[in-house]
């Protein structure tokens, strides 16, 4: 007889002997349920924290940038690769950095999306950390110190990086700024003006007069997302259970069309406040040429760098899948860099001519070896920019 069956028989006997459930009042059962739930929630939080589960939530809404890192958040990342670290108290995927630049120190700011953020590897393996170590190894003896600060944040478009540069990074007074361009960036800078749905983040366009402008209508129309919510903030920062539910929700939304349909239908009916909040309005402009907008953004980034006496370097994430459209974008960026006198490096040849190109990536992002390759390629450009 299977153990479960034996146990059930045993339980049935025990139940017949005691029979307490029939006489128990409903409020006692309710009290028991609440007490047990509280105990189990606490136990599971502790268990998840110990196992490093439910700690992949690291972004919070930001009224200017759309999203930003949660300062000081502990992250155990297993979605692709692995890392187990804390974000800095100012929300950087980096060690603690003072805003005031120490004496005899040259600073390099790294901007980009998840490729720069490098959650897939440990902090010391990111190209920022490896570049900093290499520069300090080379020039440490001469008394020069280098700080390579990682401002990379998952999902950021070039437009968000442009805002980030003036809003957050300028105060760090970087001597050089490296922007890692990735293949999806140019699409993320604009939105289709005819669509009524879009991710709440700043978008950009060039109006009929040829003026470069920011489209913040979606941000404004979703302001309730950015309102301070102490409960959600607390859960996002400290609750692993919240992290698990949020992650499962995201995974199911991506992989199970039936789930997202049902979820939205049910939420709209039962809890309208929690239903899909990404509302958008018709944009006040025509369909944009994404490349024209992206090029203008890079020029603005270059202007911002000049205004803080910093040199701009554009690095292009490798076109490892040989996407034609991305090759065209890389060529256009190269021409722009030559024209505007920015530093430029395309990491694609380093992948193509590598003996083991697969080893440079985990899945979509750099492996430790990939980060090392990027740091090695950036080093001469940074040295050149800082010597100018």
């Amino acid at each position: 007889m299977p153990v479960t069956q034996e146990l059930l028989n045993k339980e049935a006997t025990a139940s017949r002997q005691t029979q307490p459930s029939k006489h128990r009042s409903w409020w006692l059962s309710l009290f028991e349920l609440v007490a047990l739930t509280l105990i189990l929630v606490f136990a599971i939080e502790v268990f998840f924290a110990f196992a490093g589960v439910g700690q992949e939530e690291f972004l919070e809404p930001d009224p200017v940038l759309g999203v930003r890192h949660i300062p000081g958040k502990k992250i155990v990342w297993r979605l692709e690769g692995y890392s187990d670290e804390k974000l800095s108290s100012s929300g950087l995927r980096d060690q603690e950095r003072a805003i005031n630049k120490p004496a005899n120190t040259l600073r390099i700011a790294l901007l980009g999306d998840s490729a720069t953020e490098g959650m897939q590897v440990s902090l010391s393996e990111t190209y920022g950390a490896q570049l900093e170590a290499a520069l300090n190894r080379k020039y440490g003896a001469s008394g020069k110190q280098f700080e390579v600060i990682n401002f990379g944040c998952s999902s950021y478009s070039n437009g968000q990086e442009m805002i980030q540069l003036t809003k957050d990074i300028a105060q760090y007074k970087p001597d050089a700024v490296v922007v890692m361009y990735n293949r999806g960036d140019y699409i993320e800078n604009i939105r289709d003006p005819s669509t009524m749905k879009a991710e709440p983040r700043p978008y950009f366009y060039i109006n009929s007069k040829g003026e470069f402008s920011q489209d913040d209508t979606i941000m404004k129309n979703n302001q309730d997302l950015f309102k301070a919510d102490p409960v959600m903030d607390f859960l996002r920062r400290y609750s692993c259970i919240y992290g698990v539910i949020s992650h499962t929700n995201l995974t199911l939304t991506i992989n199970e069309p039936l789930y997202s349909k049902l979820r939205n239908t049910l939420l709209k009916r039962l809890m309208p406040g929690f239903a899909d909040k990404t509302r958008a309005v018709q944009a006040p402009y025509t369909i944009q040429d994404p490349w024209q907008v992206t090029e203008t953004i890079f020029k603005r980034i270059g202007d911002s760098c000049k205004s803080i006496n910093s040199k701009l370097i554009i690095a292009c994430f490798p076109n490892n899948v040989n996407e034609r459209q991305y090759s065209v974008q890389i060529d256009s960026l190269k021409k722009l860099a030559e024209k505007e006198n920015y530093g430029f490096v395309d990491l694609t040849p380093q992948v193509i001519y590598n003996k083991d190109p697969k080893s440079l990536f985990i899945k979509y992002h750099f492996s430790g070896k990939g980060h090392a390759m990027a740091a090695e390629q950036l080093q001469p450009l940074v040295e050149k920019a800082l010597n100018q």
Binding site: V3, T18, P20, S29, V53, V244, E256
Partner: protein, 491 residues
């Protein structure tokens, strides 16, 4: 439809709720419709194939019963029909490839035939899900009717026996007599069965999603790059797959059996602590029980079983396991896996005979060290067998095994294991198994604390509800983001 998909999470409660809301006849009709929806959710046209096979086998069964003088001929025709179908869908490409390889070898050494294609012709037939399990259940039905059992006379209930969704894709391989009895019984909702079913589903999901899928990722790191594995890596990958295939398949069976219990049906057990087997013979009594008993009843015994000469007995064992290997997959490494098990069973038989004949060895047998060394030896044998099973070819198998015996520093597999959730989840599972054993022991010799816990659990619905939610959260938290199908779905 996958048991570990969101669709099934909606499908099962809906079917269970409707099932218990309907009168007995309506329940059966609902189950038949639900079973076909379950199957056709994957590929609608293959639902028609299963329906066609079901209809043909139903009439074969009736014919065997109705025409006793011709029943041998009808049985032969029905077996040719079923095995022919299986061969076409599952083995056509394998047979073509093997024939091409044989011709290629002949041509290399003899120059004949003068011209063969440069590569093996491929038909690229999409394997209908669960075809091997359907075929085995049909063969069991026809042979049992041939042996004197009364055939099922209602086509719809026979179709439900064949397509019953909790056991549809990967078993357990049911016996029609048991199922027919359950169909005829007027089921009443039994909360005890319902609870047991729910428990089995949770355990199955934990095994599959928390342990199996995470182990699969770690194992893949090693098997995808066998030459880069260190010694520890190679052993970890091999042991990891041995555990993975168990938790994956037994997890599937638990969910299937649990789902059936929610509907008031009992499916046969398929696993009984297989890694505690002290010999290979015992292992096959504990592992994939419904398959090993099928092989015993419909292959081993018809070949003469154990009432033949020692040589023929060993030959029968070997052939049964080799064919069992071929049943698993259309590739030579599965056949060799089966032959490896067959050879293991032959050696086990010889060893057992030797022990019986040798008094001093017989005296050692009751000692616990004898038993546990048997457990370790059997598990080690299984590790090597599992390498054969997981590898994609014979050279691949040899690469992995050679790394197990090459002293080299560990690298990617050990790292992947250590940074995964497996150290925690495997420990939790080990604790759960130990508690289950303790509870099992407590049935015979009551342990007060276990008794009190069981008693509390049996009368406290809040405790059960809270634990179910907690278990659900744990499964959600530990499941990797990419859902993978069950290993046995491919068979």
């Amino acid at each position: 439809m996958l048991f570990n998909s969101f669709t099934y999470l909606l499908f099962l409660p809906l079917v269970v709720a409707l099932h218990w809301a309907l009168p007995p006849l309506g329940r059966r009709i609902l189950l038949l419709i639900a079973s076909y929806v379950f199957y056709m959710n994957w590929m609608p046209t293959y639902g028609l194939l299963i329906l066609g096979l079901t209809a043909a086998n139903f009439f074969f069964g009736i014919a065997i019963d109705k025409y006793p003088h011709n029943k041998k001929g009808i049985l032969t025709a029905s077996l040719v029909f079923n095995l022919g179908g299986l061969c076409f869908f599952k083995y056509a490409d394998f047979l073509l490839k093997s024939a091409w390889s044989a011709l290629h070898i002949t041509k290399t050494y003899t120059g004949f035939p003068a011209a063969i294609p440069d590569s093996s012709p491929v038909l690229n037939i999409l394997l209908p899900l669960g075809i091997s399990f359907f075929t085995f259940e049909f063969i069991h039905y026809l042979v049992d009717v041939y042996r004197g059992s009364k055939p099922m006379t209602n086509f719809f209930w026979f179709a439900l026996f064949a397509a019953f969704f909790p056991s549809q894709i990967a078993g357990p391989i049911k016996r029609f007599q048991d199922f027919d009895d359950q169909l005829k019984a007027n089921h009443k909702f039994d909360f005890k069965l319902f609870r047991e079913g729910l428990g089995l589903i949770f355990i199955g999901l934990f095994k599959k999603m928390v342990l199996g899928d995470n182990l699969g990722r770690v194992v893949a790191v090693g098997f995808n790059n066998p030459l880069q594995m260190g010694t520890v890596d190679a052993w970890l990958a091999a042991v990891g797959f041995t555990i993975q295939i168990y938790v994956d398949f037994s997890g599937y069976t638990d969910i299937g059996r649990g789902s059936a219990l929610l509907l008031g049906y009992k499916l046969p057990e398929n696993f009984n602590w297989p890694f505690l087997a002290a010999s290979l013979t015992e292992f096959w009594r504990r592992w994939h029980i419904s398959l090993s008993t099928w092989l015993r009843d419909y292959l081993f015994i018809p070949m003469g079983g154990s009432r033949v000469s020692n040589f023929k007995l060993k030959r029968n064992l070997f052939i049964t396991m080799a064919l069992g290997g071929l049943w698993h997959g259309a590739d030579w490494h599965y056949v060799i896996w089966g032959m490896f098990h067959g050879a293991g069973l032959v050696v086990t038989k010889d060893w057992s005979d030797l022990v019986n004949k040798t008094p001093w060895l017989s005296r050692l047998r009751p000692h616990f060290l004898w038993h546990w060394s048997g457990v370790v030896f059997t598990f080690t044998f299984l590790i090597f067998a599992c390498v054969l099973f997981r590898a994609t070819s014979i050279p691949h198998t040899l690469q992995v095994i050679s790394r197990m015996f090459t002293l080299a520093p560990s690298s990617a597999v050990l790292h992947a294991f250590m940074v995964s959730t497996l150290p925690v989840s495997l420990t939790c599972y080990a604790i759960f198994l130990a508690l289950e054993r303790l509870a099992h022991h407590s049935v015979k010799q009551p342990v007060p604390i276990v008794h009190n816990l069981v008693s509390y659990w049996s009368h406290s619905w809040p405790a059960r509800l809270a634990v179910c939610v907690a278990l659900g959260l744990v499964i959600m938290g530990f499941t990797p983001e990419d859902v993978s199908p069950f290993i046995y779905f491919q068979f």
